[in-house]
């Protein structure tokens, strides 16, 4: 059932998130968490989703798997099209076969994502209990461990998670997520808990696998340098909205939204020697306390009276767009 290149035309996208609004119902009050989030992913593309904590990155990415926040999570509007099929219209069985088989996910904390009481080998085999395949399971696990650069199979499969380092565990997580050859990998802050040296190893591994397998990756991170190095395109999220989307090179040279510019200026880099770090003042507003106009207004260096009206969406070139009055 594997799709080939010819099935997907150049204009078609593997994943399209359209106007996705998600809320939670808490003590009879509806709290909107994301507001009309839209982005698209081509086959083999690495799309970055960047933003501060609490801006709705993880909620949006979980919604791609059909998971809404619990308890009280609600889909308010929009759809998630995976290969032109709306995943919110799928029944439970087909949704389950989608998860893991077609879309898989790796998380920030490799330690927290594993069961500490079960050996690595058993945890990897568990995958197959839920997804029937005809392939030789042990053979496949060995192949994948090789692919992620772990060669000491016997020892690793016999180990418990605490016996391995964070970098090794993240490699195992990646191997596990690839067991069923997914078309889309959602990587939610895959290297935040790791050292820079290990980060470079893991990211180059993800990029290599993405190229070899023509797999798409949704890379979620708050590290803009990481995006600059590895993503093909980027969406910036702020307070539940996507405020800017563009190709990565155009974004880095000429970011349009003041928040994007603020993010770029707020990070110290090794090559920007001597430059002052310019912080963005204030804090991200909490859900439910968003302004009705531009949500970045209070922290924006160029805000004016007009910003209390909802900002219009403007296009940048063919592919990019941003949401700002200026």
């Amino acid at each position: 059932m594997k799709s080939t290149d010819s099935e997907i035309g150049t204009d078609d996208y593997l994943l399209q998130v359209q106007d996705l609004s998600i809320g939670v119902e808490q003590s009879q009050k509806l709290l909107q968490l994301t507001d009309r989030v839209s982005f698209k992913l081509k086959k083999g593309e690495i799309h970055g989703l960047i933003g501060e904590s609490g801006c709705g990155k993880s909620i949006s990415s979980l919604a791609i798997m059909g998971i809404l926040p619990q308890p009280g999570g609600k889909l308010l509007s929009g759809k998630v099209l995976f290969k032109n099929e709306d995943i919110f219209c799928l029944d439970k069985t087909s949704l389950n076969s989608l998860r893991g088989n077609k879309i898989s996910m790796i998380f920030q904390e490799p330690f927290a994502a594993m069961n500490p009481l079960i050996r690595i080998g058993e945890q990897m085999l568990e995958n197959f209990d839920y997804h029937q395949t005809k392939i030789d399971r042990h053979q496949k696990i060995r192949e994948l461990l090789n692919e992620v650069g772990l060669t000491d199979h016997a020892r690793i499969l016999q180990s418990y998670p605490h016996e391995l380092s964070g970098g090794m565990l993240q490699r195992i997580m990646i191997a596990m997520s690839l067991l069923l050859d997914p078309d889309l990998l959602i990587a939610d802050e895959p290297t935040t808990a790791l050292d820079v040296t290990v980060q470079a190893q893991i990211m180059s591994l993800i990029v290599r696998l993405c190229k070899e397998r023509k797999m798409s990756v949704l890379l979620i991170s708050h590290n803009i340098s990481l995006m600059a190095q590895y993503a093909d395109s980027i969406s910036v999220m702020y307070a539940g909205q996507i405020v800017e989307t563009n190709e990565i090179s155009a974004f880095l040279t000429d970011a349009s939204h003041p928040y994007s510019r603020g993010l770029i200026q707020a990070i110290p880099t090794l090559d920007k020697a001597g430059d002052k770090i310019i912080p963005i003042s204030g804090q991200v507003p909490e859900p439910g306390k968003f302004s009705t106009g531009c949500r970045f207004m209070e922290r924006c260096p160029v805000s004016a009276a007009i910003c209390s009206n909802p900002p219009p969406e403007k296009n940048i070139g063919d592919l990019g767009h941003y949401r700002c009055h200026y």
Binding site: E52, S53, S165, G166, G167, M168, D195, V196, T197, V198, Q199, A200, Q201, M203, S204, H222, N223, I224, S225, L226, A228, Q229, Y230, I248, S249, L252, G262, L263, I264, A266, I267, P268, T269, L270, D271, K272, A273, D275, K276, I277, I278, P279, I280, S281, Q283, V284
Partner: protein, 324 residues
Amino acid sequence: MNNKVNSPIIEVTDLQTWFPVKSGLLGRTSHYIKAVDKVSLRVNHGEIVALVGESGCGKSTLGNSLAGLLPIRGGQLLFRGNAAFQGNRLQREVFQNKVQVIFQDPYSSLNPKHTVFEILSFPLLYHKICTRNEVSDYIASLLEQVGMSAEYMNRYPHSFSGGQRQRISIARAIGMKPDLMICDEIVSSLDVSIQAQIVELLLELRKKLDLALLFIAHDLSLVRALSDRIYVMYLGKIVESGNTAEVLTSPSHPYTRALVQSVPTLNRECPPVILQGEVPSFTNMPVGCSFQNRCPNKSERCMNEPEITESNQRELRCFHPVQI
């Protein structure tokens, strides 16, 4: 003034912090984890010194040892020229509360059952920094110094975000009027925009209060923007030290170079270079140079342990430094 600048606040020579590993039926010490081994380090008056390295290299252990929070096995720790340890016994009065530590996780370093007022007042009253009558005003001024409103005094930690909690931790530390603050990864759990705010605050406080900072971090770009001098640590030993800008632009130790090269930059033309291999564990250290199994410049000489050599105010522990 110049004299003051160059006088060390804290100076350690050949500091060793070892943890015994007990095994067998009788629980005898079979060997030691040498988390900090023969480290010499100095923080001068009003200076910001960075300590960098991968996780598990002993940075935090060294930081805690410097604050007198851990028993040391050997070496000397001088605070303002006075020995803080007589043998293995800590002479707490030497520090006079002038060394304060701020920890990494702002969620576990503040007691959730106490209000901000209580959290900040306990150390002040215990150490008689101020009297009961003054304490409220003093805390208000501390909160103001870290950019928070005095109204927050009666709230509990759960009502604050990570960045605000870290500000409260900073307020607690500066309340003791320290000479040296040891900041152990204090921004690594915060968002970038908040990170920059905290860094700004530290720089401002340092100027205003004439503080010295030991900044323990693994984020090299942050360290580059912040610190005057840097120590690079690998497996319990300092492998290179010197002026931050110089060390990071022209690293001499192959490990420092690998660290610098693996940091992603905004420029896609120069992608990160990958350092192969994993950090060996403390229980299974290689004989000789501890970096040899990952080092591109390795030779037979590296089976012996390299000593620290000094040239141009740069200290280096390597037989085959990177040629520039």
